[in-house]
């Protein structure tokens, strides 16, 4: 039963020849993932599916990017909003490598500091955080030193 379901899911988004498949993205964060990875600004062929059934996440999204291979520090940026994302690296229709995302030690320019009195919310400044705890997520602003937790996490 499970296997047939999985096969059906796969069919919903067409296969790619070479590139990267990012799976297990929480459906509600799909567009944030696209923005963070800059997929809205590249010329590569991209297909995505969202609100797909997922046993783990309830509903998930998947992105397939042709001819694109991400560096680890690039892909880890999505770990904050898609901590369970899995990457399949595809070469000639075959999965040649599987990767998981890891929450990085520092986060730059992605997250908004939750403190309204922080300088980064009052002047055009690239935000910077040190990750002081990965689970539950806690980000310490390098400017105001206040901690933004998962509950207050907001993507810029």
């Amino acid at each position: 039963m499970k296997d047939t379901n999985k096969k059906k899911l796969k069919l919903k988004v067409s296969a790619i020849k070479d590139g990267t498949v990012i799976d297990h993205i929480p459906a509600s964060n799909l567009f944030d993932v696209i923005t963070i990875l800059g997929l809205n600004k590249i010329e590569n062929q991209i297909t995505f599916g969202t609100n797909l059934e997922s046993e783990k996440l309830g509903s998930k999204a998947i992105i397939k990017v042709s001819d694109k291979f991400f560096a680890d520090d690039e892909i880890n940026k999505i770990a904050l909003i898609a901590p369970h994302a899995k990457l399949n690296i595809i070469n000639d229709y075959v999965v040649t490598e599987k990767k998981i995302v890891e929450i990085p030690d520092s986060v730059q320019g992605i997250v908004k500091c939750f403190n309204p009195k922080c300088i980064t919310n009052n002047e055009a400044i690239f935000t910077k955080f040190k990750v002081i705890n990965k689970s539950p997520l806690a980000l310490k602003c390098c400017y105001c030193e206040k901690i933004t937790d998962k509950e207050h996490l907001q993507i810029i």
Binding site: K117, I119, C142, C144
Partner: protein, 303 residues
């Protein structure tokens, strides 16, 4: 160029603290030294703070430096909408050092990134005020003769009080400290600082009442309990008179105990304490000038 900014108290190591203490003692003996001769210090107060500004400007003057700056943000280019970035870039070209107070948290760290010259944080919102901490430490050293083995009582608003947080961080670098926290339920020491003490194996005790437990103290660090911190005004009314220090409460305390307060005080230290030899808050303020001379000399490698 590796510049020595002072933005947060934890920018300094234990060695830096000790160096500032040595230099402050030296400046206390001989406050007028022409170390800043020919140098210009920008004193940028984006929010008014007469006490801190005068203390810094006295320190700069005693070192023979010249001061340019903003004392009233209402009459400066800031009121025309200039960004902090641009103000700091401009001032970096004019001066050798920036001393800055700003109402927004993190403004000092940002200024230090933008500036090509060193920045000393004279307070950024509710975040950091490291020169206050160093003058508190100098006051402890002067009155106790040591920075280790101190039983410190912190009283009042321990939740929002940046001075107590920074002092805790700095003093926890020294051996055998004991911390005692006296605060109402709504203004307790935040968990992150208690975790820090536990990680370092430092003993601390929490109390709700201000009683003769202070008889064990070496230092009583008083802070203001502010009405606007309470979500429930009835709670404020209940505690507002609980954390007031009276002279009679000091009678059975240790002879070496000293009462500190970052000032300004409102009613938390009754005026009858002022005449006690255990009151130290006015001398503490004077120590600020020597400590700031030390910090400036250290920052600019003048000593």
């Amino acid at each position: 160029m590796n510049k020595k900014d002072l933005i947060s108290i934890t920018d300094y190591t234990k060695d830096d603290y000790l160096r500032i203490m040595d230099l402050a003692a030296e400046f206390e003996k001989n406050p007028n030294q022409d170390l800043l001769k020919g140098k210009v210090v920008a004193s940028l107060f984006f929010e008014p703070s007469t006490r801190t500004r005068l203390s810094f400007e006295t320190a700069i003057s005693r070192l023979g430096g010249r001061i340019i700056g903003i004392a009233d943000p209402g009459s400066s280019s800031v009121s025309k909408g200039e960004t902090l970035h641009d103000t700091i870039r401009m001032v970096s070209n004019y001066a050798d050092l920036i001393v800055m107070r700003h109402p927004l948290e993190g403004a000092a760290r940002y200024a230090a990134e933008v500036a090509s010259i060193p920045v000393i944080n004279a307070g950024d919102g509710a975040n950091q005020h490291p020169t206050q901490t160093l003058l508190d430490m100098y006051s402890i050293l002067k009155t106790q003769g040591r920075l280790d083995n101190i039983n410190i009582f912190m009283v009042g608003d321990l939740k929002y009080g940046r001075t107590v947080h920074s002092l805790l961080m700095a003093m926890s670098e020294f051996e055998n400290q004991i911390f005692n926290f006296i605060a109402p339920e709504e203004l307790l020491m935040p968990e992150e600082y208690k975790i820090h003490l536990r990680d370092k194996g430092i003993k601390y005790y929490e109390h709700r009442e201000f009683t003769d437990i202070i008889n064990a103290a070496d230092i009583i660090y008083m802070t203001r309990v502010q009405k606007e911190r309470f979500s429930d005004p009835i709670e404020y009314e209940k505690v507002k008179n609980v954390y007031i220090l009276r002279e009679k409460m000091l009678r059975n305390t240790k002879p070496n105990v000293r009462v500190l307060h970052p000032l300004p005080r409102v009613n938390e230290i009754h005026p009858d304490v002022d005449k006690s030899e255990k009151a130290y808050y006015f001398e503490q303020a004077l120590n600020g000038v020597f400590t700031r001379e030390a910090i400036i000399a250290h920052t600019l490698n003048l000593k």
